[in-house]
Subunit: 491 residues, 2 copies
C-alpha cells in the first residue's frame, strides 16, 4: 500500500501522525510522453472532473496531459484503508438518483459495491439530541419524523415543498419566482418561519442544513439547500437516501482509479503528480502552462478543474474574468469538519446524534463496523464553532464525548480548511452568489475551459456527480472542436 502525505491519524498510543495509507497515490508519479509536444489537451487537476475528462478524451484518441498538485487522484474525494477499513476523507455517499456518478459505477461494474450505511440492528439503536435545552434520546423513527417535519417547513416556500418554485433541480432558475429567494440565507429563512417552528424543529433544521453547507447560518445560501432538496424530488426520505446512506464498500479511491486506468490503457495519457500549476497563458496559438518547479507544457486546449476557493492562486493570461476573480476572492462558505472515530463499542453501530448549537461537532452517525469489531462513527462540524482537529485532538475528543460517552480508539481525518489546493470542502454559496456569478464561473476563456462540480449545471452541483458531469461536458466540447470532421453521411 502506498502512502499519501495528506490526512491525519490519531490513536492513544501513537498520538497524532500526518499521512495515511492510500491506494490513490500513483506510482510512478510522472509519466510524460514527449514533454515538448503540443498536447491536444492539458487538464489541471485529477479529481473526478479531471479524471472523467481525461478518460473521455484519451479514449477518443486525444493526447492528454494531466497535472495534479497532490500526490494522488480524487481531489476532494479519497479513501484511506486503515487496518482494512475504508475511511472516506471527503466525498463519500452516492445514489442511483445521481445520474452521472451512477452511470459510471454501472459502467465499471461496481453497482454491487454499494452498501447501506445506517444499520439499526444493534443495541444502542437510538438518536441523541443535545440542544441548549438539554439532552434527549429518541428512536430513529422519532428522529426521522422530527427532521422530516422540520425540513418540510424549511423548504415549503410554495405550499408544495418547493416543487412549484423549483421543479427542475438542474435548472434552478427555470421559474423566475426563485429570484425572490436568491439572496436569502439559512438564518433569513429560519427567521421567516420561526413562528411555525418548535425549538426542537429549529435546532434540527439548523444542524442538518449546516452539516450540508459547512458554513454558518448567516453565510449559507438557502437556495443551495433547496436545490439538493429538489434534486431529491422534494422528498425527505429520498433526500436522506441520496446524500448520506449509500457508500462504496471498496472505497471511493478504487472508483477514481477506474477512470485513470481506462485512460492509461489507451496510451494517450501523460501525467505528473506533485505538480503545482502557477501560470496558464492562452494568449498565443497554443496554450502554455507553467509549473512551480519551472516546467512548461503546451496544449491546444486547457481544462482547468481548479476549485473556486483557490482559483486565483493561478496566474492566467489573458487574466481571469473579473467576475471569476470576485467569486473566488469571496469564496464559498464550506469549511466542513469531517472526523472519523473508531469506538470500542460494537453496539454504537446503530447510534446517531446531533449536538447544536453549543458543540464543535454537530452530527455523528454510525457508518460501519471495522474488521476488529469496532464501530466507525463519522462526525461533522462546520464554520460555526469551527474546529481544527489537527491543532487540538483533546478538543476534538471532547466534542465527540459531548454527544454521548464513548471510548475512542482512533481518529482519522483530513483538514479541508487548511488544504492549500481546495481551501474548503464541497461548494456552498453565500446568499446571492449563485445568481451573480454562476454564469461567469462556467464561461470559457478562449482555449481554456473551466470545469468543476463547484459550478456544475446539474441538480447535484457540489457532489461527485457534478464533478463527473463537468468533466463529461468539457471533454465533449473539446472533442467536437478538435476532432477532424469525417462525416460519412450527407445527413
Amino acid at each position: 500500500m502506498t502512502f499519501t502525505r495528506e490526512g491525519f491519524q490519531w490513536t492513544p498510543t501513537t498520538g497524532l501522525q500526518q499521512g495515511l495509507p492510500c491506494e490513490a497515490v500513483i506510482q510512478p508519479p510522472e509519466i510524460i510522453e514527449k514533454p515538448r509536444q503540443v498536447f491536444d489537451v492539458l487538464i489541471i487537476g485529477a479529481g473526478y472532473t479531471g479524471l472523467t475528462a481525461a478518460r473521455d478524451l484519451t479514449t477518443a484518441g486525444f493526447k492528454t496531459l494531466m497535472l495534479e498538485s497532490r500526490d494522488r487522484v480524487g481531489g476532494r474525494t479519497w479513501t484511506s484503508h486503515v487496518d482494512g477499513y475504508p475511511f472516506e476523507m471527503g466525498g463519500t455517499w452516492v445514489h442511483w438518483f445521481q445520474p452521472h456518478v451512477y452511470r459510471e459505477l454501472s459502467r465499471y461494474g461496481m453497482k454491487s459495491e454499494l452498501v447501506h450505511c445506517p444499520d439499526y440492528s444493534k443495541k444502542k439503536n437510538h438518536f441523541t439530541f443535545v440542544t441548549k435545552h438539554g439532552r434527549r434520546d429518541m428512536s430513529h423513527e422519532e428522529e426521522q419524523e422530527l427532521t422530516a417535519r422540520a425540513l418540510g417547513k424549511f423548504v415549503d416556500i410554495d405550499g408544495n415543498r418547493g416543487k412549484t418554485v423549483m421543479p427542475f433541480p438542474f435548472n434552478s432558475g427555470w421559474n423566475k419566482v426563485i429570484l425572490k429567494f436568491a439572496h436569502m440565507s439559512v438564518a433569513d429563512r429560519v427567521e421567516q418561519i420561526k413562528h411555525q417552528l418548535s425549538e426542537e424543529e429549529r435546532h434540527a433544521i439548523e444542524a442538518v442544513v449546516l452539516v450540508c453547507s459547512g458554513g454558518t447560518r448567516e453565510n449559507s445560501a438557502f437556495l443551495d439547500f433547496l436545490r439538493w432538496w429538489a434534486a431529491s424530488n422534494h422528498d425527505y426520505e429520498t433526500f436522506m437516501d441520496s446524500v448520506m446512506v449509500f457508500k462504496l464498500k471498496c472505497g471511493q479511491s478504487a472508483f477514481a482509479l477506474k477512470f485513470l486506468h481506462e485512460s492509461l490503457q489507451t496510451g494517450n495519457l501523460s501525467y505528473s503528480f506533485n505538480t503545482v500549476v502557477s501560470h496558464v497563458d492562452s494568449s498565443g496559438d497554443s496554450a502554455e502552462v507553467r509549473t512551480n518547479d519551472g516546467r512548461q507544457f503546451f496544449a491546444k486546449r486547457i481544462i482547468s478543474t481548479i476549485p473556486l476557493n483557490v482559483l486565483t492562486k493561478v496566474h492566467f493570461n489573458p487574466p481571469l474574468d473579473p467576475s471569476k476573480v470576485e467569486a473566488s476572492t469571496l469564496k464559498h462558505v464550506n469549511q466542513c469538519v469531517k472526523v472519523h472515530a473508531e469506538v470500542k463499542d460494537p453496539e454504537m453501530r446503530s447510534w446517531s446524534g446531533i449536538t447544536y448549537p453549543n458543540n464543535k461537532l454537530l452530527l455523528g452517525a454510525g457508518d460501519g463496523t471495522t474488521p476488529s469489531g469496532n464501530t466507525h462513527i463519522v462526525f461533522f462540524g462546520c464554520e460555526q464553532n469551527h474546529l481544527q482537529p489537527d491543532e487540538n485532538v483533546e478538543e476534538t475528543l471532547q466534542a465527540i464525548k459531548e454527544f454521548t460517552p464513548m471510548d475512542v480508539e482512533r481518529l482519522v481525518f483530513h483538514n479541508w480548511s487548511k488544504d492549500e489546493f481546495a481551501e474548503g470542502a464541497w461548494v456552498w454559496y453565500r446568499p446571492g452568489m449563485e445568481v451573480k456569478y454562476l454564469d461567469a464561473l462556467r464561461r470559457r476563456q478562449g482555449g481554456v475551459l473551466f470545469a468543476n462540480s463547484d459550478w456544475a449545471e446539474g441538480g447535484w452541483r457540489s457532489f461527485i456527480d457534478g464533478a463527473i458531469q463537468s468533466g463529461t461536458e468539457a471533454a465533449l466540447i473539446i472533442k467536437d472542436e478538435l476532432q477532424p470532421k469525417k462525416l460519412n453521411s450527407r445527413i
Copy 2:
C-alpha cells in the same frame, strides 16, 4: 421531412393511412465502407442499445457496422411530427432519476428539452374513473390520493413499501426473501390483499399496473412492478414522476439522432437500414452475419440487440443457448396498445381518466397542446381486452368515448403487437421468468454479445434507460477485449 413506412394516422377526412413523417429515417439508407472488410464490431439493431454501443465504439476508434431492419433509428422509441406536434409512438417519458438516459441528455445539452406533461391549469381539470360500478369524476388530488393509497398496499410486502425486501432496484435478488414473490402474478398479489382493498382501490391497482405491464392480471409478474417501484425509491410521487411525467419537447427521435451523428462524425460507422439479419455464425475465427437479401458481413465481435420476443427469428450458429430459446418462445407479455388522439377541446388538456375492466383502452391523459390548439390525449390498452387499432378505427374511437365524450380529429399510433421486429412493447416478464431466464439472456456466446433493455441489469430495465445502459456495457466489454494494451504505467 422524411417518412417511415411504420405507424398509422387516421382523420375523419383521410381515413386510415399507413406511414408517418419521421426524422429518424436515415438518408441515404446505406453507407458501408469496404463491405468485405472484417469490421471490429457488427451491431444488429439501431435502437438506443445499438446506437449507444455504436457511439461508444466508433468514438473509441473501432470500425463498426450497424444493421437495422427498419428504415429508421430508435427501435421501440420513435417520434412522428404531425402538423408540428411530436407524437411519441413508443418510449416517451424520462426522468433525471434514470441515470443512463439522463447522463446522455445532459451530455448532449438537452436538459432544457424536458417538459412537464400534466397541466392542471385548464377548465376540465378532473379525473374520470369508470368501473363496472359506474362513473365518477374526482379531482386530481383525490385521484392521486386513491392511487397512492392503493399502490401503497399493493407493494407493501414487508411493512416498508417493499424497501426492506428490495432495497437495491438494480439488484432485485439482493435480499433472497424476494424469491418468495418471484412466481407471483399481479392477480395473485391482488388476491393476497383483497380484504384490505376497496373496489375502487382494486380497480385502480389493476388498471395502473396493466398499463405498466401491457399484459393481463394473470400473466404479468408482480416482481416487475416492484422493481419499477423500487427504482422510484418506493414512493408513489417519485414513481409517477419517473414513468409518465417528463418528455422531450423536441421528441425522442431528435435525441436518438445525437448518438448516430456523434458516431458518424468519427468516420468509423458504416450502416445499412432496411436490412434484416437472418443468420449469425460465430463458429469461425471472425463472426459472419447474413441478411435476408443475401449479403454477408464479417466482424470480430457481434452485438445482438434483437428483442426477446423475436430473438429466435434469427438463426444462430453455434445455436442459441436453450434457455434463451425457451424465454424467447414463451415471450414476455407486453402487448401495450398506445393510441394518440387529437381532440378539439383545449380544456381537455387537464383531464385524465381510467376505464376498467370493461373497456379496450384503460387509461387516458392529456399530454400536450398541438400548435392548432387541440388537446393531445394519450391512451393505453393492454393484452386484456386487446385492441388492434389499425384493424378497427371505429372500435378505437368507441373505446376513447367510453372515458368521456370528446371530438376526435386525429388518431396516431404504432401497433407494436403486429410489429415484426419487436412483437410487443417494453419488456414485462411472466411470473417466474425473471429468476429462471435473466442470467441466461444476459450471457454472451463466444464473440456474440446480447444487449437489450429487455434484460438490462438495472432498476430501469425495459426503459430507454436500460437500453442505453446495455449498449454502454456491451461497448465497454468489447473495447477492453479489442483494444491494444498500451498501458503506459507500471501501476
